[in-house]
Structures are given as structure tokens and as C-alpha cells.
Subunit: 359 residues, 2 copies
């Protein structure tokens, strides 16, 4: 279901733990990757980078001027989490995360939404409901544009504008990726739109999605307005297979998706350059969580699951599946961090996954 | 908590049932308003309008050219629901609903999110959790702008843009309305933002909200990124009192809000011109539901609850409270439409409310 741009044995991975709990969940994840790699003949070379808000307060930038060039030399990128009180979010993110997503044309953000065994959903689910779908988020354009600004600053007439930009190329490659994925799964694609309210860009989105869908007669495509779709994530999550969404809609839907599978701490995210011309980036959905940083209680499963998405992208679906199974086995065995109602530490959970991976 | 622009005895109400179930839920609602009005010395004059998609297919427009002038003569507007297969949503909505919201400067969209007695939430709620908050949605600008268009149509280079426009005046009046409301309730305001991703407009939104908040030392204001906020509607809905949001964010949050209170069929919406210079408009959150139209099984409670918001806006909070109590009593008595797991018809539910209102 994913491209296999690289099935060589040696993989260079740029590692950016970032801030807060990012640094705590990254280290044990590398140990797990090494163990799985050994069984599958994969050898990892880690390229560590301390780029973070802490780095920013020291240097005035989130990464060095040649940061993107350094990353370009790596095969893949593992990111922890970025953000720290005192550094405005739009500085930390537009100084690191978003430039990486764009420079390396990581135009797909792939986010599985799957209820893991032993985890309680906060939803009352009908008997037999399975939550197991994937959100394909357009990751390079749309509502996240740099085009815009302010006028009449500081006066009562002040206003701010921001342009949403949707290109045929941009929507089409997201739609085709999602259609391919749906064709390899249960053949159903939900497209998030708002063509009744947002008059210029969303009817265009619909048009492009349906133009592409003509090449996939085996996939059933259905449009949902984003408001109704958010409601259905809560009322009927079992109906979804693949969901394709714009940058902003995908952002909202995937946090909601993480909520309905019982923990933001578990959900993973892959920023893919599907062609493999550039490194892709793998990160947990959760943030740096300064409130619990330094206590050793952060849930490492989001980062570990993200690592498994990297194995998949590297063309090792079997290795990827073993990591997911190990996550499931550790959850079933009851070793859980506080966010899941347990008492285990970050290390204890990671060790449990490691044991299952090597057993 | 709401303005009382009109405490006169005679009220002219423009009634636009619209399409589908809109026409089925409107009629019994008028009967209930008449009954409550009689007890409170309010006399209603109904001004019926058949403006709808059906009207559009007949005339080529959603309403007559002087439609807005006709409405301007009324004190208030009751809307059912608009939309019909075959008429594109953006035609039906930008031809009726949205022009009304804008022409009459209904810059506040007020949507209570309250779990009613006897209704099951689709969420697993912690013992003692009460869902009882109000979303204040900016209703005139933001992401719903007409500014934008397409270039290179039909070529691979095609793109579409749409400008989000936030004015200080527009954000400020929404923020102040929400702050006033929070001050009259539990003193807590959540502001929906995305200042880490949307770089021009959302940091501006935050600035204006906090500028206004300085005048309300008794209200605690907290910013939430829209993605995290959507997740919290599911994970911790009991924490909210008043939520203020932009047009699009408010749209998404209120459908999600309707979902967590167990039925889209119940949630009401008030499009307010708080100063009372122009008519306000009251409508259910649900749509025209062509799939169940004509069967007499639509839930009328959203429309009836919307009517109670009108009574409140007319300066009759006591009458409004009686309607809400009658809705609650009818739900507790078990008379429910199919969407709530019952077997009652639209008329049976409306009759039950009517009985409680007049008893
Ligand atoms: C129908 C649509 C344009 C409208 C909106 O998005 O405003 C509706 O969803 C609503 O919430 O009233
Ligand atoms: C931090 C923020 C800019 C980012 C986004 O909105 O893309 C995050 O929420 C995510 O989903 O990866």
C-alpha cells in the first residue's frame, strides 16, 4: 500500500527529538528500531540534531541555516515534538516542522486512526464496531499558506487576510494517493469538503477528487461536509476506510481521530514524499507537552508507531507489522502509561514493546 | 444574557420553512409559539414565504429580488432548512441563508450545546459530567468570504484561491458578545484558534480577543488550537462554558457539539443582530434531510428549541425557559422520534411539547 523507494540495508536517519517529551520518547524508539532492524537486515545510522526551541533561544533560529541541506543527506527523518512556553508556536513550527514538510515535498500526511486492543474509546460503540481507518491529509498547501498580511495595524480599521491556495497538481496527488490506498484496502473513500460554505476552493477540491476517481472504478467516493464529517467521527466511526482532506481539515480530523481511539499519546503521523526523491518525516501526533516533561511518564507509543510507519515506507512492511504487533501485545499485557490509566513509566512501556519485538 | 430589543406585544415573524423536513417541523413550531405567546401576552403575525430549492427550480432564484426588503419588514425570521438534491448547496445557501445572515448583520451565531435529560450522549462520560455550554460563532466574515476565484481553468496549472478576511471590528464584536455571555454564566471563555498553523489571521484573532478580555477581569480566557479543541469536545466536554470561534471553526465545532449531545435533530441556532436594528434569524442546526422527508418522522425539537431562542431574543426569557422545560419534559416522558431511538412521529413529539407548554 505504500511505495518502497528504498530496500537497501543501510539507512541514514536524521533524528530530531525536539522539546519536552519529544526527547524522552525518542531514545527508546531508536533502541526498538535497532532491534527490529537486526532481525530484518536493516542497519541504521543515526544523525542527531538538537534543533528545538531551546536551540532557538540560544541561536535565534530553530535550525542552522544549512539545516535543510543537512537533512537532505539523510534517507529519512524522525521527529519528536517541538514547542516550548515562551517561544510562540508559529515561530517554532514555521521555523522547523513546516519548512521540512515543504522543502522535501512531503505532500502527504498519513495518519492511521485505529482503536488498539485493550484501549477504551471515549465513544459508546455499537457492538462489533471497528475503528480502523486512515486519514490522508494534503500537507503542502491549502489553508496553510504564507500569502496574506495585515493592514491599518493598531487602528479600528485593522484587518488580516490569508489566502487559501489549492492547485490542481496539489489536490490531484493527494486524491490519487488516497484512491490508491482505498483500492488496496476496503475500497471506500470519504472526501472532506465544505463546498456549501467555502465557495471558491472547495467546489474545486470536489471537482479534482472526482476527476481522479474516474480512474478508480473499484473505489466508492463520497463527499462529506467537514462539519457533518466531524460529527460522524463521533457518531459512526466504523463506516470509514480512507478519508482524504485538505491541510486544515486533515489537521482537525486527525486530532479528533486520535481522541476517538482513546489517546493522543498513541497516534502516529507520516509526512511522506511518496516518490522517495526526498526524505520523509515520521512523528507522533502529540506535542511536546511541557506540563509533563521531565517526569519520565510520557507515552512512547506514538513515537514508536511513527517509527513503524517509517519501516513501512522503507519497504519493510513485515518489520513494520512486527512493531505494531509488539505495541498491541504490550497494551494487552497491561503495561500502560498514565494517560491510558496505567502507572508505567516511558521506559517500562518501551521495554515491554522491545521484549515483544525481540521475542 | 441576551439583548431585549423588543418587548412589545405584537411580533411580525417571517416564516421560511424551506425544503424537505424544514416544512414538516415548522408548522407545529408555530402552534407552540402561539400557545406560549398567549400566556405571555405576545401576539404573532406570520409572514409566510415559500422560498426554497423548489422555488429556485421554478424561478431561477432562491428568493425574489426584493426578498431581503420583504424580510426587513419583519421583526424576526424563522428558518426551517434549505437544500435539495439537484440544486448545488452553494447555490441554495449563497442564494438565501448567507445573504440573510449578512444583510441583517447577524454577526453572531449562537448555538447552545446542552445534554438534555433522557438523551444518551455517544460519549462515555465521567460520573457527574455536565455538558452545558454555548458556542458563539462569528457569522459574517472569516473563512466564508466571496473573495477568490480560479485561474488556468481546465489545465494542469489550474488553481483556486479564497481569501479569509478577519477585521478588528468583526472579531471584536464577536469576542465582546462571548465575554458578556461568559460573565453572565460561569466566567470561562475558550477561544478557538490555530495561530501555530494559520500565520496571518489567527494570531490576529488571538490579539483582538485578548485586547477585549482586558475589560473583563472576571472572565478567564484560554486559547485552544482548533485541532486540540475538537479533541477536547470528545475527551472533556464538561470543561466548557462559552466557546468563541471563527465562522468555519464555529461551523465545525457546533456540528461536533450537536453530535456529543446525542442528536443533530435537537440542536438550535440563533443568527443574531444583537442590537436589534435588523431581524435576527432562528433555525435548527440540522439540514433538510431529503432522505427522510415526507415521512412525518423528522425530529421537531431543533426547530422548537430555535423558537425558544427567539423568545429569549425578544426579551421574554421566561417564555423561552418554559419552551425549553416543555422540551425536557417531553423527552423525559419518553415521546421520541426515531433518531433518538423512539417511534413517535413529528406531530406526536410536537403535541407532547405543546401539552407541557400549556399545562
Ligand atoms: C449550510 C452551511 C453554509 C451552513 C454553514 O456552514 O454556515 C451550515 O452548515 C450551518 O452551520 O449553518
Ligand atoms: C503544530 C501544527 C502546525 C501542526 C499542524 O497543524 O500541521 C500539528 O497540529 C500537526 O497536526 O502536525
Amino acid at each position: 500500500q505504500m511505495e518502497s523507494p528504498d530496500i537497501s540495508r543501510k539507512v541514514t536517519v536524521a533524528v530530531i527529538p525536539g522539546d519536552g517529551i519529544g526527547t524522552e520518547v525518542m531514545e527508546p524508539t531508536l533502541g526498538i528500531l535497532e532491534a527490529v532492524g537486526e532481525r530484518h537486515g536493516l542497519e541504521f545510522a543515526w544523525q542527531h540534531h538538537d534543533w528545538s526551541c531551546e536551540y532557538y533561544t540560544r541561536t535565534g533560529a530553530m535550525m542552522p541555516e544549512d539545516g535543510l541541506e543537512q537533512l537532505a543527506a539523510a534517507d529519512q527523518i524522525l521527529l519528536g515534538a517541538v514547542g516550548f512556553p515562551g517561544v510562540p508556536d508559529h515561530v517554532s513550527l514555521w521555523g522547523l516542522l513546516i519548512p521540512i514538510r515543504r522543502a522535501f515535498r512531503q505532500y502527504i500526511n498519513l495518519r492511521p486512526v485505529r482503536l488498539m486492543p485493550g484501549i477504551d474509546s471515549p465513544l459508546v460503540l455499537r457492538e462489533g464496531t471497528e475503528i480502523d481507518f486512515v486519514v490522508v491529509r494534503e500537507n503542502n498547501e491549502g489553508e496553510y499558506s504564507e500569502v496574506g498580511g495585515r493592514m491599518y495595524r493598531g487602528t479600528p480599521d485593522e484587518f488580516a487576510v490569508q489566502e487559501s491556495v489549492f492547485t490542481r497538481r496539489g489536490v490531484e496527488r493527494a486524491a490519487r494517493f488516497a484512491l490508491d490506498l482505498a483500492a488496496s484496502r476496503r475500497g471506500s473513500l470519504a472526501s472532506a469538503t465544505k463546498s456549501n460554505g467555502i465557495v471558491h476552493t472547495m467546489p474545486f477540491w470536489d471537482e479534482v477528487v472526482h476527476d481522479c476517481a474516474r480512474d478508480y472504478p473499484g473505489v466508492e467516493v463520497r463527499d462529506y461536509h467537514i462539519d457533518a464529517l466531524a460529527a460522524l467521527f463521533v457518531l459512526d466511526p466504523g463506516r470509514f476506510d480512507v478519508v482524504v482532506a485538505s491541510n486544515l481539515f486533515g489537521d482537525i480530523l486527525t486530532d479528533l481521530g486520535a481522541a476517538i481511539i482513546g489517546s493522543i499519546g498513541i497516534a502516529p503521523s507520516a509526512n511522506l514524499n511518496p516518490e522517495g526523491e526526498h526524505p520523509s518525516m515520521f512523528e507522533p501526533v502529540h506535542g511536546s507537552a511541557p506540563d509533563i516533561a521531565g517526569q519520565g511518564i510520557a507515552n512512547p507509543l506514538g513515537q514508536i508507531w511513527a517509527a513503524s510507519l517509517m519501516l513501512d515506507h522503507l519497504g519493510h512492511p513485515q518489520a513494520a507489522a512486527e512493531v505494531v504487533s509488539a505495541i498491541e501485545a504490550s497494551l494487552t499485557s497491561g503495561v500502560r502509561t498514565r494517560d491510558l490509566g496505567g502507572t508505567a513509566s516511558t521506559t517500562e512501556v518501551a521495554d515491554a514493546v522491545l521484549r515483544h519485538v525481540t521475542s
